[in-house]
């Protein structure tokens, strides 16, 4: 299963890019699992992920929701508009 993570705000700097496609190991079922796999692949992101929201297009996902092959997950760190 391949998932593409899209990085926003300070995460871009930590990830060293705007996005990253990752082939997830067997057993990855949930958003939380996918984030664990991402932290393994890009350790610099680890410290940010607890406070990061995950969106699919205009919908915020819970950590317990299922991931599917080909999904695009947008990672949204704490916001500071205005």
């Amino acid at each position: 299963m391949v998932v593409t993570f899209e990085f926003w705000g300070a995460l871009r700097r930590a990830a060293g890019g705007d996005e990253r496609a990752l082939t997830l190991p067997a057993g990855v079922l949930s958003v939380a699992d996918a984030l664990d796999a991402l932290a393994d692949a890009v350790p610099a992101l680890g410290e940010y992920l607890d406070n990061t929201a995950v969106a699919q297009a205009d919908r915020l996902l819970l950590r317990t929701e299922a991931v599917e092959d080909g999904m695009r997950l947008s990672l949204l760190p704490p916001v500071a508009g205005g």
Binding site: G9, Y48, A55, D58, L62, L76, V79
Partner: protein, 164 residues
């Protein structure tokens, strides 16, 4: 429209041609300050995750109208590179009376700052830049994180709920 790469224009969001029953208009503008937490700021870059940002701004307008019983609430945000004094956000509320107009306008601005996926990167005099820390918008944040989400994550700035 909610997000603009060009300078914000106030007139179209005022709704002055309508709402003849309204005696009050409250407008807020957030501008780029030259100083933040003691560091001299040269310019700012705002980025937004547009699909969710626009949906939430529409929801905030709607919620504000219902919560305060005001017929008109509009909020728009600038993205891209901004200079000192440039306007980052405009909010306009029309209401029959001024009490609700002020309260509703403040509410809508607070909500945009706390809930909408927009990020602010400040560029300093010394050549460095940093993202403002801001507010965690994860819907299922465990309680222990909610209490210290401004700390311990290697960020450059304190939590900023109270800032303009």
């Amino acid at each position: 429209m909610y997000l603009y790469e060009t300078p914000l224009i106030l007139d179209p969001i005022l709704g002055m041609a309508e709402h003849r029953d309204c005696g009050a208009l409250s407008v807020f503008a957030g501008t780029v300050r030259d100083l933040n937490e003691g560091k001299r700021v040269l310019r700012l870059k705002y980025t937004a995750f547009a699909p969710l940002a626009e949906k939430l701004m529409r929801e905030i307008e709607q919620e504000t109208r219902e919560k305060f019983g005001v017929p008109h609430c509009r909020v728009i945000h600038r993205i891209g590179m901004l200079e000192i004094g440039d306007i980052a956000i405009y909010c306009a509320v029309r209401a029959p009376h001024r009490g609700e107009a002020f309260a509703a306008c403040k509410h809508a601005v607070d909500e945009v700052k706390h809930r909408v996926p927009i990020w602010k990167e400040e560029f300093f005099e010394d050549g460095t830049s940093a993202f403002n820390q801001g507010c965690c918008i994860r819907p299922d944040l465990p309680q222990e994180h909610a209490h210290d989400h401004a700390h311990g994550h290697g960020v450059h700035h304190d939590h900023k709920h109270d800032h303009a």
